[in-house]
């Protein structure tokens, strides 16, 4: 992780920003209504969008703002950009500011590329001379030289996006405020965006990036701010932010593990699972577990009859109802022993957590010795837990893979081929 260039003064200082939207309950849209009911006060309810947000962004830092939909991240960006005013608090920016909330804002479809590029540059704060000077760079980057005389309405959507993106990144600003909408589009375009982000970061620009994609937070950001319902939930290391984001997103204590309700249970009832839960490497019962650490799934069982060599098994199902893993005590402890009526036992299944970050539910069964089909108890969806992790690569598990790259000489390659 590259460190931001150290500097004395921060590029951005935000000091206890607070912002509320006043939403009128019944909106009077006309002067007539206002004139007919001059005394009727329109009632408003205020919707707090941001509460007491404070942070600093160092010069050259890539700073992420993450949060769920409606958490206030876009509002915060608009406040930083000066599009919304804040109710309380102060913002200082040291350097030239450029904002990309959306691509191609203010493009006029009836005008040719040149007029649009120049106008957009002036909108972004360039002087007309600067805007005209950068026109060539913009049109070359967008690879649209042969279409520059064409009106924008005759552009394909791909050409349109290319021009808009090119316009956005050719602004010579010290501080860039970027909304996640920039990172949409097809794969090759996204890669182009990311290349530009890397370049900007390496050039030492200060970038504030709003997203809900934890992958890009980890890839780019030096630090990140997590917003939850307009409040500052966490500020700091992007990996930590990504973890907390997933926790918040999936619910902190999903379906709290605990005593099991006697419904939808199968088996002959000679033993019952009283409680089941997941715990982390420190033995704490948790609802969310970090990928890569040791985790344990535990079931507390009470025997209602004398049972010889019972076997417990657990299935982990992801939210596609796919069985990701099955473990049974019969494999390691086929002769688990004799249990008397009223006795209790803990069945624990520990493993290195290679599960992909998402939600999992569990299915417990208790069976008599033998095939494992002679059930004493069966609980669907005993509890669920969430696995958090910085990456979501798309697999159902993330195996700890050792990757190596070795250069092979041409001769050796031939030998291999032969």
């Amino acid at each position: 992780m590259p460190q931001p260039a150290s500097s004395c003064a921060p590029a951005i200082v935000a000091d206890s920003l607070t912002k509320a939207f006043r939403v009128p309950e019944e909106r009077t849209h006309t002067l007539k209504e206002r004139a007919l009911h001059p005394l009727r006060r329109t009632r408003h309810h205020t919707f707090p969008a941001l509460r007491d947000i404070s942070f600093e962004v160092a010069r050259g830092e890539f700073f992420g703002i993450v949060g769920r939909n409606g958490s206030g991240k876009s509002t915060l960006l608009k406040c930083l950009a000066g599009i919304y005013g804040v109710d309380h608090g102060q913002i200082w920016m040291d350097g030239r500011l450029s904002t990309f909330i959306e691509l191609g804002v203010g493009f006029n479809p009836d005008l040719a590329a040149r007029d649009n590029v120049v106008l957009n540059g002036i909108m972004m704060g360039l002087s007309p001379r600067e805007a005209r000077a950068r026109y060539d760079a913009v049109i070359d980057f967008a690879e649209l030289r042969e279409f520059e005389e064409l009106k924008l309405k005759n552009y394909s959507s791909g050409m349109h996006v290319r021009l808009a993106f090119s316009v956005a990144i050719q602004v010579d600003a010290d501080i860039l405020l970027v909304d996640e909408v920039l990172a949409v589009g097809d794969a090759s375009f996204q890669q182009k965006c990311f290349d530009v982000f890397y370049r900007l970061r390496d050039e030492g620009r200060t970038i504030v990036f709003v997203t809900h994609d934890m992958g890009s937070v980890n890839r780019f950001c030096h630090r990140a701010l997590l917003l939850e319902k307009g409040e500052q939930a966490y500020l700091g290391d992007p990996y930590e932010v990504a973890d907390r984001y997933l926790e918040i997103n999936f619910g902190r204590e999903p379906q709290q593990a605990g005593p099991i309700i006697d419904e939808h249970r199968g088996g002959d009832g000679q033993a019952r699972v009283l409680e089941a839960w997941a715990q982390d490497e420190n033995g704490r019962r948790v609802g969310s577990l970090q990928q890569g650490r040791r985790m344990t799934v535990v079931a507390l069982v009470e025997f209602k009859a004398d049972v010889e060599d019972p076997a417990a098994s657990v299935q982990l199902l992801n939210d596609d109802h796919m069985v990701v893993a099955v473990a049974t005590s019969a494999a390691a402890h086929e002769r688990s022993g004799h249990f008397h009526t009223g006795e209790r036992a803990l069945f624990s299944f520990s493993f290195d957590n290679v599960l992909a970050p998402r939600r999992y539910s569990t299915l417990f069964t208790l069976a008599h010795r033998g095939t494992g089909l002679d059930l004493m108890d069966r609980i669907d969806d005993a509890f669920s837990f969430v696995v958090t992790g910085p990456r979501a690569l798309g697999g159902i598990v993330d195996l700890p893979v050792d990757v190596s790259v070795e250069r092979v000489s041409a001769q050796a390659a031939q030998e291999v081929a032969l």
Binding site: D15, L31, H88, W92, M123, P128
Partner: protein, 300 residues
Amino acid sequence: MSYQVAELETSAYGSSLGHPIRGPRALSDDWSRFWHLTYNIARNEFKLKFFGSILGYLWQVMRPLLLFGVLYVFFVVIGHVGKGGKPGETAYGVQLLGSIVLFTFFSEATTGAVRSVVDRENLVRKIQFPRLVIPMSVCLLSFFNLVMNLIVVLIFALISGIQPMLSWIELPLILTLLIVLSTGVAMLLSAMFVSFRDIQPIWDVLTQVLFYSSPVIIPVETVRDKLLHEPLLWHIYLLNPLVTIFQQFRHAMVTHAALSAGQTLGSWADLLAPLGIVAAIFLLGFWVFNRSAPHVAENL
């Protein structure tokens, strides 16, 4: 309270914090940016009109000319307005066309401004820029059209045998007054339309009223004679600052036979009244717009 906190913070960091972000406002500290934005938006719109259709510029000029033609046929040829042989009715045709062109500017700038902020919602919500740019660019676009139309008036005047006069140098003053009035109304309407959507039909009607109650068709001299025994109505008539502006245009630009603004009002000192009204409308418009500017992005 928060202001004091801010001051403490500033002194704690020293002066190296850079510039504060104050949120959206009507104006910006950077006047050149304000001007470039206004100019370029207006220029692009003008270009679109100019090159947007085959006739382009012709259409722009046709509008006042057509109105002039219709009014001339119905009021002058058929209705015999302006043919009474009164001193104010010399070169009535030029007076009529000139007034139509001035009024076209006023009505274009103001009716164009009404929806302008709402129609440019996309810009307002996504880019930080001085909000006043929007109605101002509408006014500037109308001004470009006004210049075009005045050229036509000049040609028409010279054809009609009007001799160039020294008093033509008053034109910038007259236009300034008209522009200040129009921008004031434009600011007021565009800010109000955000909350009150019936401003548009109301203003459409009011524009019609102003058209007939300004000295466009009926010369001031005729109105004064008819209202000789109705001083109240006469004073209400004079409250409309367009009367002063148009009348001085007729006097200074077309014929000295027409009453000057001072003669119309009584004395030159009375000019302070319409000037005061224009200034008041401008200040009111700016005040309303300035007050709504910080929140307009949220209220759209």
